[in-house]
């Protein structure tokens, strides 16, 4: 082995290690690492692979529960959805690549998360995407949006997995750091769940799928530093996707699930072969030895360093016994997929890489994984927060009438219809999408059972900017409400923590607070976190994004017939507010639109009330009492009302006089305030008494507001709008005015 000389600062910057961390590694090794070893250590100790900043915080999250089949630590989490089936899911970020090259960044984000799910043997049945951009009005942001949407569609549509949901927010905070979080959900028989733990020294390691090229080298470390002017020069660190190849790979991997010939399966993601091989061996308490010269390459002259750190997409590692190798390779041959035997499982606990016999890397796995030097940065509450929180939203006079305000909100980029986006995604392939995008949560039938799964993502960062703990808790509650609104019980959470540079004390404080908020809400609602991903260093030129906790949630509905949708379903029904009356304008979309600020007390959140409201609504839906149910979120009660009207194709007349009382700002608070723990439902007049009885049992308020029907959306003495006008504004929200 050749040893490098004294390591330069430039080299350390390239592998994103501090000098202290470097010296730690030399101390442990008792020698200077080789070039390949240095690259391997840098990748494995990066935030992206090693979670060196977030690990101690993440340990606080509740990860167990009666339905949990697989918690964090595998490629994806899994929960029991009855009928002997498991729902496998995970969300992951692809922010940095998407900011540089939106199409490929987003496409490979989808490809990567799909692999995480089918690596477990599960057939992917749905994709969701949580996106954040700068202001929609800016052409550069729409260019990014268009590229990201095209990339998600380009990959998902080609591979034949429906994209059924997600969300998009536009905010100044993301102008230089767009966020692209992709979630994949799969289903598998529980007995066939495939783990990624190597076993059996002497077993062979197969590398399957795409050839290895120079694309994406240092992708993991790239994602662990801030973006700057020179970042667009890092395009070579962005990978290029091939969904066709992945489709073939998926078909074989899903077929091989539960096959006794497969000892372990692991996809190649961030840090490519380095992290996949190390994690595969370490999980199984083994070692691994590989010869890089056996790996098929896309181009000549690649060094072992480049081969080990390449992030070429659509590749998988498999562990099989020597006698099964040929028959397993034949399964891949059938789909014209290339496979190489690149190494063997050992019992040494070491990652050994050779290049035609020459050892270029020989590192203990515990150094790479257990000994990741954790960072414990200082946490500091940002100084400006008190000023922001001291704003009094009720002291600011509304600039517009309530009717005009509703028209503006329903037509605003953060609230209006997403149809122009989701019609670019195949959201129906598989013939299981029962509730299509556009409602609260997508609902997919689960074949072989009477049930369904409800899927959603959520994460309002405006509240989190004011209070990261409350914001993250609200994200959990809001996601749960989305799932509950279709009648499903929340059963599992996956999360993506998108934050700035954690070396800044303010950002580390935000991260720590957000994880605490997520913990509190998950505990209160009894929903475990089974998988997740952390994306830090979302900064440009020293400015961090707002702390953005994206929650992906899966709900389970026992009986598909007992589902509910958001649009008013029938004329003459009673319109019901389930949950409290409130007027929380701090952090609201109204505040953004009307006053251009984000300040004041963030919405109050009573987790016990939240739990009771959700339980009550689930019971109402299960009893078949509701003809529609929609959660209250951005834009508050009035926007929920307008959405239920537009989605249901019928108007509503609210005769409740409460909204007409008080000063305009009080009206605005009641109509557009984003108070939590609320649903807007409708029910036949004859069912209202039963609804009230259920609510009472849970200690939840129900208020009858008015009646559905007609072509107008009216709040008595406040506004009276034509449904067609509201519909037009809603539909046009994401159509740029030229």
């Amino acid at each position: 082995m050749t040893s490098a000389g004294p390591v330069s600062d430039a080299t350390l910057a390239e592998v994103a290690l501090t000098r202290g961390e470097y010296e730690l590694s030399t101390g442990r090794l008792g020698r200077v690492p080789t070039e390949v070893e240095l690259g391997v250590i840098g990748a494995m100790w990066s935030e992206h692979c090693g979670y060196k900043t977030s690990k101690p915080l993440l340990a606080r999250l509740p990860v167990s529960g009666p339905r949990v089949l697989q918690g964090p630590g595998e490629n994806a989490g899994a929960v029991d959805i009855g009928g002997g089936l498991a729902c496998v899911f995970k969300i992951e970020s692809h922010n940095h690549p998407s900011a540089i090259e939106p199409y490929q960044g987003a496409a490979t984000g989808v490809g990567g998360i799909l692999r995480d799910v089918f690596t477990m043997g599960a057939r992917p049945v749905a994709l969701l995407d949580s996106l954040r951009f700068g202001p929609f009005e800016e052409p550069a942001q729409r260019h990014l949006l268009d590229g990201v949407v095209a990339g998600i569609g380009g990959y998902g549509n080609c591979i034949g997995v429906p994209t059924v949901g997600g969300e998009i927010y536009f905010d100044e905070s993301y102008r230089h750091n767009c966020l692209v979080n992709a979630m994949c959900v799969g289903v598998i028989e529980q007995s066939k769940l495939t783990r990624a733990a190597a076993a059996g020294p002497g077993n062979l390691v197969l590398l399957v799928g795409a050839d290895t090229g120079r694309d994406g080298i240092h992708g993991a470390t790239f994602a662990s530093v801030e973006l700057n002017e020179a970042s667009s020069e890092r395009r070579p660190a962005v990978q290029v996707g091939n969904p066709f190849l992945e489709k073939c790979l998926m078909e074989v991997c899903v077929t091989l699930a539960g096959d006794p010939r497969i000892v372990a399966m692991q996809d190649l993601g961030a840090a490519g072969l380095t992290s996949s091989s190390a994690e595969l061996a370490h999980r199984g308490g083994c070692g691994i030895e590989m010869d890089v010269s056996r790996i098929s390459r896309r181009e000549r002259g690649m060094t072992p360093y480049e081969v080990m750190l390449s992030e070429s997409q659509e590749r998988m590692l498999l562990v099989v016994s020597p006698q099964d190798a040929a028959s397993v390779q034949a399964e891949f041959d059938r789909w014209d997929l290339h496979s190489d035997v690149i190494g063997t499982v050992t019992d040494t606990g070491r990652l050994v890489v050779t290049d035609v016999g020459e050892v270029v890397c020989d590192l203990p796995l515990d150094l790479l994984i257990d000994d990741v030097p954790l960072r414990h940065p200082e946490a500091l509450r940002p100084a400006g927060l008190d000023a922001a929180l001291s704003v009094d939203p009720l002291a600011m006079t509304p600039p517009w009438s309530m009717g005009e305000t509703l028209m503006r909100l329903i037509g605003s980029p953060n609230i209006g219809s997403r149809r122009s986006i989701f019609r670019r995604y195949d959201h129906q392939v598989g013939d299981d999408t029962v509730v299509l995008p556009g409602g609260d949560a997508a609902l997919l039938r689960v074949r072989g059972t009477a049930g369904a799964i409800a899927l959603t993502t959520d994460g309002n960062a405006r509240y989190a900017a004011l209070d990261p703990r409350r914001g993250a808790a609200i994200a959990v509650c809001e996601a749960a409400r989305n799932v509950v609104a279709v009648g499903a019980t929340p059963v599992g959470v996956t999360n993506c923590l998108n934050f700035g540079n954690p070396e800044k004390p303010e950002v580390f404080w935000q991260l720590s607070e957000a994880i605490e908020g997520m913990r509190e809400a998950c505990l209160a609602l009894g929903v475990p976190v089974v998988s997740g991903n952390v994306s830090l260093y979302n900064d440009t030129e020293g400015v961090s994004i707002d702390p953005t906790t994206v929650i992906g949630m899966v709900g389970h509905l026992e009986d598909l017939e007992r589902r509910c949708t958001a649009g008013f379903g029938r004329d003459g029904d009673s319109v019901l507010l389930v949950g409290p009356v409130g007027m929380d304008l701090g952090g609201s979309e109204y505040q953004r639109l009307a006053h251009g600020i984000n300040g004041g007390p963030r919405p109050t959140l009573d987790l016990d009330l939240e739990r009771r409201v959700q339980a009550a609504v689930l019971e109402m839906i299960a009893a078949g009492l509701l003809s529609s149910c929609h959660d209250l979120a951005e834009g508050g009660l009035a926007v929920a009302l307008a959405e239920s009207c537009v989605l249901g194709g019928r108007g509503a007349q609210l005769t409740e006089r409460l909204f007409a009382l008080g000063a305009p700002v009080v009206q605005a608070g009641l109509l557009f305030g984003e108070s939590q723990s609320r649903f807007l439902a409708s029910a036949a007049a004859a069912a209202v008494a039963a609804v009230r009885a259920i609510a009472q049992r849970h200690g939840v308020d129900v208020r009858e507001l008015g009646t559905t029907g007609g072509g107008r959306v009216t709040v008595i003495d406040v506004f009276d709008l034509a449904l067609t006008e509201l519909g037009r504004a809603h539909a046009g929200a994401l159509v740029p005015s030229r």
């Binding site: 066709f244 489709k247 392939v429 013939d431």
Partner: protein
């Protein structure tokens, strides 16, 4: 009866098609792209997807698959072939149907419900429909704009080979009902022998009311009836 469902690498609606056939109580077999055996199929379905990644051009590689040689022979002998979405693209590339499918006029992928007016019931694929009736069937494609030269289009119309046209929900022809800008709003055409249908919309996605529509079943049911009534259609060897 037996439906043969082609599977190319990149095909993804084979499962949906198989289930639609099974809902009707009929049998389906998968036909692997490298095989030539149609396994006694009464009707061959070329389903949606991105066969061979749609590399070069949609359907351009798939038409050279060994399976397609058998499909060509089968069609020439009068066998029923139903090309859906990517299958339609492959049939055009294979010259089993006229015209071509180019990029949507919007330059964007479109997945949404469309309304199709049945323009002729004189085909084995539409016998169970009413002429002028409207079917709600979703599309899902980026390259579904049907184009042909004017004389071909005139001939298709004259020979009543336009099977479906995109229309408004109430059946009226309006300028912007097409999701892709197809010439004369054409959504599906049949071959000269009327035994080959290509359509961009996905009837297998309109297979049950739970999913919003079961209008697509009219097409599969028509095939079943046609096969039962006319033994003249070829059965694959």
């Amino acid at each position: 009866m037996r439906f043969g469902i082609a599977v190319f690498p990149g095909t993804w609606s084979d499962g949906d098609c198989a289930r639609a056939v099974e809902v009707l109580g009929h049998q389906s077999v998968r036909l692997w792209h490298r095989d030539r055996d149609l396994q006694g199929s009464d009707c061959v379905i070329l389903p949606g997807g991105f066969a061979y990644g749609d590399h070069l051009r949609t359907g351009a590689v798939a038409r050279f698959a060994p399976l397609m040689e058998s499909v060509q022979e089968f069609a020439a002998a009068g066998g029923l072939v139903l090309g859906i979405c990517n299958g339609f693209q492959i049939l055009c590339e294979a010259h089993l149907l006229p015209g071509a499918l180019t990029r949507n006029a919007s330059l964007e992928f479109r997945c949404e419900t469309t309304w199709l007016r049945v323009e002729t019931v004189e085909t084995p694929f539409t016998g169970d429909c009413e002429r002028g009736g409207v079917l709600a069937i979703p599309v899902s494609h980026g390259e579904g704009r049907f184009v042909a030269d004017p004389s071909t289009l005139d001939r298709l119309e004259a020979e009543q080979r336009v099977a479906f046209r995109y229309v408004a929900r109430d059946g009226t022809a309006v300028g912007d009902a097409s999701p892709n800008g197809s010439m004369r709003d054409i959504a599906g055409v049949v071959s000269e022998g009327r035994n080959v249908l290509g359509m961009m919309p996905h009837p297998e996605r309109a297979a049950e009311p739970l999913l919003g529509s079961d209008d697509g079943m009219r097409i599969f049911r028509s095939v079943v009836e046609a096969v039962a009534e006319h033994s003249a259609f070829a059965v694959a060897p």
